[in-house]
């Protein structure tokens, strides 16, 4: 419709600025549905979070009222938040480095195109295809009291070590971390492989002439070249682990046993839906959001290109 308004004469670069501008205005209308849709359904709720975070709101059906900074003061001496903060830190501190370093080396390895690399690539895609709920059910079954791991232990005569991995206070968090690594390593590795394949063979060849082994080629040649990409993937993995733990915890442990696997993201969900204190849940959500941004800034600094 708007196309009619535009002059059919195509504006030449430099010539007729005004005409170019009206032409642009007609064009930009094409983008409006998408932008409005996007702002309404994703940016809007995000902004609303900042309002709800300062409300006293018992449940979705209950009346809401502002209570100033009460939620924030409450948060500061809430044991559960402190525990969740600690759990989140442990979860991130172990899984993030392992996934990033492991995936980078996996990517380098796949890129060597050794025999079998095709089938390995296909296998590495598996976690990217499985839904969260299927992954959750799979691991509840694998790690359950009579699940795959315990059956396997039984078969090799180590049945005494069998335990309900997800319900055991010592093993619940390590299990969650292992599942996180399991699901993150493969696809990130393939992404690194794709990026590393863009590196010219000549560069490796030159390093080889200098007697570099794989370890050195990986960290002294490939890594510096792809450093910025490493940073971007680290950011994404950081965000995914920080926020994504909610769904995984919901399916695997529901924060238990006790508070052993209660992460911040889980608390947002828990206070939002299980023991509803909607306002408070969003205050924690705000903390999570700030942690996300702070983390991004730090990761960006660390991986800034140094030429």
């Amino acid at each position: 419709m708007t196309a009619i308004l535009d002059s059919p004469v195509v504006a030449r670069p430099g010539g007729g600025k005004k005409r170019a501008r009206t032409r642009d205005r007609g064009l930009i209308v094409f983008a409006l549905p998408s932008v409005v849709w996007y702002v309404l359904f994703t940016i809007g709720p995000l902004v609303a979070m900042f309002v709800v975070a300062f409300m006293d709101w018992a449940g979705l059906a209950a009346p809401a009222s502002f209570n100033g900074a009460d939620n924030v003061t409450r948060l500061l001496d809430d044991e559960r938040v402190l525990t969740a903060l600690k759990n989140t830190a442990v979860h991130l501190a172990v899984s993030l480095p392992v996934i990033m370093v492991g995936a980078f080396m996996l990517g380098y390895f796949l890129n060597l195109k050794l025999p079998g690399h095709r089938i390995l690539r296909v296998i590495m895609f598996v976690p990217a295809l499985i839904s969260l709920s299927a992954m959750g059910m799979l691991f509840v079954a694998v790690l359950g009291p009579t699940g795959l791991v315990n059956s396997a232990l039984d078969q090799v005569g180590l049945g005494a070590h069998a335990t309900a991995w997800l319900a055991d206070p010592t093993w619940a968090m390590p299990s969650l971390i292992l599942v996180t690594i399991w699901s993150g390593l493969g696809l990130t590795g393939i992404l690194f492989a794709a990026r590393l394949s863009a590196i010219d063979d000549e560069i490796y060849a030159a390093a080889e002439l200098d007697g570099a082994n794989h370890w050195q080629k990986m960290w002294r040649v490939a890594y510096p070249i792809t450093r910025d990409y490493f940073g971007v993937l680290t950011m994404l993995q950081y965000l995914w682990t920080l926020f994504g733990s909610a769904g995984m915890v919901l399916l695997l442990t529901r924060g238990g046993p006790g508070e052993a696997t209660s992460t911040l993201a889980w608390l947002v969900y828990r206070f939002g839906f299980r023991s509803p204190e909607v306002g408070y849940s969003q205050t924690i959500g705000l903390v999570l959001f700030v942690l996300g941004i702070v983390g991004l800034v730090i990761i960006r600094r660390v991986f800034r290109a140094r030429y």
């Binding site: 170019a20 064009l27 549905p33 996007y38 296998i123 082994n213 370890w215 994404l236």
Partner: protein
């Protein structure tokens, strides 16, 4: 994953610089490389073994699943599959998943394609602002706004409906879809559009007959990516559509197998999980290469 610090170097320092035709495959297996290979195989095994176990457990009796975990006994045939299908009402769940996925995908494409066209061809300031807004979207993980999104659903009187997901999912998919497609649209030569315009074609016509056919690979890519993420969506669908058997999706139905006491019937859970992952794996089997490249391109998704 501490790969053995491969101390051994393929160390032939004084190798005469005879430029032998470079071999494509470095066949020199150093101990470090062999060690790494072993570690990669271990990881691959942790990916494959649970799936193998899942598959065979789906076809055996509850007893066998515990007593003979690795033997493919097929002792109960398709019993578990039909039992879980009826128990969870998976027929309806599949249709609900299909409805939400297909409708969301259609909406996503209908609004993203013109937007990408506009951003690719506009030189104005507004286009730059729009692009910034989308770029911001990469950094906002969906989970962050779960509760306020639910409030929005209530406001719109669409709580516990599938239709709200059909509004929400396309919105969440816009940043990736538009940015990826814009890159594809930029590769279309502008001269094509100019000559069509001179022949009197309007913008819709140009978009439909020039850009659409030429950017099909990009459209395929975002369709595949969004098919996976819409079909697999769990948390939002759980919270907004809910677990009512009439409207719930496969992903929401499946975890209801786990009661408060955890799992009691492993074979049944394995059968349910198998059914839920099957559609995506079937599509993967058909579109394998295309899907792989789509996932790699879409990696920037938050």
């Amino acid at each position: 994953m501490a790969v053995a610090t491969s101390t051994t170097v393929d160390n032939q320092p004084a190798r005469p610089v005879v430029r032998a035709p470079r071999r494509k495959r470095p066949s020199r297996f150093t101990p470090g490389l062999v060690g790494s290979y072993a570690l990669v195989l271990v990881y691959a095994a942790t990916l494959v073994l649970p799936l193998y176990w899942l598959f065979i457990s789906a076809f055996k009796s509850q007893l066998d699943a515990v007593d003979a975990p690795f033997a493919p006994t097929f002792s109960s045939g398709f019993d578990n599959l039909t039992r879980v299908w009826d128990l969870l009402n998976l027929g309806d769940a599949m249709l609900n998943s299909l409805y939400i996925t297909a409708a969301s995908l259609a909406v996503t494409l209908v609004i993203a394609i013109p937007a990408a066209y506009a951003l690719a061809r506009s030189q104005g300031r507004i286009a730059t602002v729009f692009e910034r807004i989308y770029a911001l979207g990469f950094l906002i993980p969906g989970f962050a706004a779960l509760v306020p999104t639910l409030l929005l659903a209530i406001q719109l009187d669409l709580f516990h409906t599938r239709e709200f997901m059909i509004l929400y999912l396309p919105a969440s998919a816009q940043p990736l879809a538009v940015i990826l497609l814009t890159q594809f649209m930029r590769t279309v030569p502008q001269e094509l559009e100019e000559s069509a315009t001179i022949d009197g074609a309007g913008r819709f016509r140009v978009l439909r007959s020039i850009y659409l056919p030429l950017t099909m690979p990009g459209i395929a890519t975002i369709s595949i990516l969004n098919f996976i993420s819409f079909w697999n969506d769990y948390l939002y669908t759980l919270v907004i559509v809910g677990a009512n058997a009439k409207v719930r999706t496969v992903q929401v139905a499946l975890p209801t197998l786990q009661g408060n006491q955890g799992i009691t019937d492993y074979a049944l859970v394995c059968a349910g999980t198998l059914i839920s992952v099957l559609p995506v794996f079937v599509v993967y089997a058909v579109l394998n290469r295309r899907m792989e490249s789509a996932l790699v391109q879409g990696a920037l998704k938050g």
